[in-house]
């Protein structure tokens, strides 16, 4: 039988990351599920020179890049959807702090699929023919780039197509709606590339809004798209995706999405944001207070909350979880 793997957020960052690490985010698009608390903790522990692998930007990458902690990034989409451009990421790219290697959203997903398969490359029928293929931020001297998305030949038809480099990130923090103490996880809402990432990454840390009993997984094994066997650690952290949403649990916090992105537009206001929203809390309790009662009440009034109903009866109490974390942190 597998063992519980619950540890604290601080321990997870301390144990699994170091400066310069290839850090992948398991999330939905900018407004969806995102393990942004893991990114906050990376900053709290002073991690920098990160190589960020995000299928899409999120507030997490926006924050990490805005704080100057990201040397290299690879992603598909670098905005914040209706919330506009991602000011922190944008600033770090424009000032040359971050080198962003552009791909499309599908490219990032199938590069992770290739990493999961341990294929050296993945066939590319997209991104070819555009500047994404020709121009490389990681190899700026090379034009047209031959190392980023080279052309290959289909051995059956002779047709030309491209080849993506597969990705096997050193460490991934993956946001999930719920996990059991062993590391079996259920995601509500679209997976984006969390399924592929959980296999491609060398180390996998789940960041879960809720911890449920393993009986829940036995009742819904087809929902358990991330089985314990690929998971190294689980962090319990309600409202882990805030100010982004977690389907079934809470909506996006529109005000904070805007004010945060506004703050990330300049170095100075970013420092203030870090002070107020990253370095400010000492415990999960503090973190919840920082979000505020009223705000938490508002965002948990989500139209999607019925999605959580079938699983509520298996949710573990904070006390039960705390005991397991104590053991795990040892």
């Amino acid at each position: 039988m597998p063992q519980p793997k619950l540890i604290s957020l601080a321990t997870a960052v301390d144990r699994f990351t170091q400066n310069g690490v290839q850090y992948a985010s398991g999330a939905a698009l900018p407004i969806g599920s995102d393990a942004i608390v893991f990114g906050r903790e990376l900053l709290r522990q002073g991690r920098n020179q990160l190589h960020a692998i995000f299928h899409c930007n999120s507030q997490q990458l926006n924050l990490l890049a805005g704080a100057g902690a990201v040397d290299k990034a690879e992603c598909g989409f670098s905005g914040l959807e209706v919330f506009g451009f991602a000011n922190g990421l944008r600033r770090s790219i424009e000032t040359g702090v971050t080198q962003l290697e552009d791909y499309s959203n599908l490219a990032m997903a199938i590069r992770l699929l290739g990493g999961a398969m341990n294929w050296p490359f993945v066939p590319a029928t997209v991104n070819i023919g555009s500047d994404i293929q020709y121009r490389s931020a990681f190899s700026p001297e090379e034009y047209p780039s031959t190392s980023k998305i080279p052309m290959i030949t289909d051995p059956f038809s002779g047709r030309q197509l491209g080849a993506f480099q597969s990705l096997q990130p050193e460490v991934a923090a993956i946001h999930v709606s719920m996990a059991d103490p062993l590391g079996n996880a259920i995601m509500l809402g679209t997976e984006w590339s969390r399924f592929e990432l959980s296999r491609a990454a060398k180390k996998v840390i789940l960041v879960a809004d809720e911890i449920v009993h393993t009986d829940c997984m036995r009742q819904f094994p087809n929902l358990v798209r991330i089985p314990d066997i690929v998971v190294d650690a689980i962090v319990y952290w309600p409202f882990a995706a805030w100010p982004q949403s977690s389907p079934g649990l809470y909506d996006v916090d529109e005000d904070h999405m805007r004010s945060m992105n506004k703050a990330l537009a300049t170095e100075e206001t970013t420092q203030q944001y870090l002070k107020d929203y990253v370095f400010s809390y000492q415990s999960h309790r503090d973190y919840l207070d920082m979000i505020g009662n009223e705000k938490r009440e508002k965002i948990t009034q989500t139209e999607t909350s019925f999605l959580m109903d079938p699983y509520r009866k298996w949710i573990l109490s904070a006390d039960e979880i705390a005991k397991l974390v104590l053991e795990g942190d040892r």
């Binding site: 939905a28 670098s78 959203n105 997209v126 023919g129 490389s136 931020a137 997976e191 399924f195 999405m257």
Partner: protein, 265 residues
């Protein structure tokens, strides 16, 4: 706008004109914002059996409570019949050629329908890569849609800075250098079938693939459009006026756009 005494905004006209391009039963992928509103307008008005999806794999859903903040916003996740993933949606269904139509936006578009959403440089990028003066949103899923979807609709505000002879950076391919240059890459998708703007509709010449003015709106005219286009825009011999939105169309559109986002501009 007021000078035209319009009962609808330019963005509403653009959204309705885009929605009119969608046919019942099609498998269609929408991005966030205008693209989604145009798509769901079509579903609400004349294409009830449209099969709508998002890049991340949300199927069978329609937005509730107003304009979704993103394509995986809870406002669209609240009534889905299926959630899968990006490999499925953008790969199995879009890059594969199975998706009939996609709607994408553009910061800059050129006469062959190539789209730039990556950045703005001061002048040409040059032979080497260099960071843009202004970083935009990147290609996102639009590149995948531009390569794979049966046809692509490009929605863009009609301003001179957005209509270039040649985009500085191709984020999502249109017809590349025109003619049959797409064939070099074996794209299964047919390329952009229309650029629908706040002033009119451009469509590609069947042979050269250069976009020409196909239609203008009741409130715009050919000269206005030409002067807002930074290439020598050709005018189709069949150029015509786009019919005004009907009462039913406006009603359907505004039901989707319940927060009135489109009415503001």
């Amino acid at each position: 706008m007021n000078s035209h005494k319009l009962e609808y905004t330019r963005q509403e006209m653009m959204a309705i004109a885009t929605g009119r391009e969608l046919r019942d039963g099609e498998l269609a992928i929408f991005g966030v914002g205008l693209s989604m509103l145009a798509g769901y307008f079509a579903q609400a008005h004349h294409a009830p059996n449209i099969r709508a999806m998002t890049e991340g794999g949300v199927y069978g859903a329609s937005p509730v409570g107003g304009l979704p903040w993103g394509i995986e916003c809870n406002r669209i996740s609240a009534n889905a019949t299926s959630f899968t993933n990006g490999v499925d949606a953008l790969g199995f269904l879009v890059a594969s050629g199975r998706c009939d139509v996609g709607i994408i936006g553009a910061a800059q578009v050129d006469k062959f329908g190539n789209v730039n959403t990556t950045g703005i440089w001061d002048g040409e990028i040059g032979d080497h890569y260099r960071a843009p003066k202004t970083r935009l949103t990147g290609a996102g899923g639009a590149n995948d849609i531009a390569c794979g979807a049966g046809r692509v609709l490009i929605m863009v505000a009609h301003e001179p800075k957005r209509f270039a002879e040649k985009v500085t950076y191709i984020s999502s391919p249109g017809y590349l250098d025109g003619g049959n240059t797409r064939e070099r890459y074996g794209f299964i998708g047919g390329g952009p079938s229309a650029i629908i703007t706040t002033l009119g509709i451009l469509r590609p010449d069947p042979n050269t693939k250069e976009f020409q003015l196909d239609a203008y709106y009741p409130f715009s005219n050919i000269e206005e459009i030409k002067s807002n286009t930074n290439w020598a825009l050709k005018v189709s011999p069949r150029v015509h006026v786009v019919p005004e939105p009907t009462v039913d169309e406006l009603k359907a559109l505004r039901k989707v756009d319940e927060t009135g986002a489109l009415r503001k501009q």
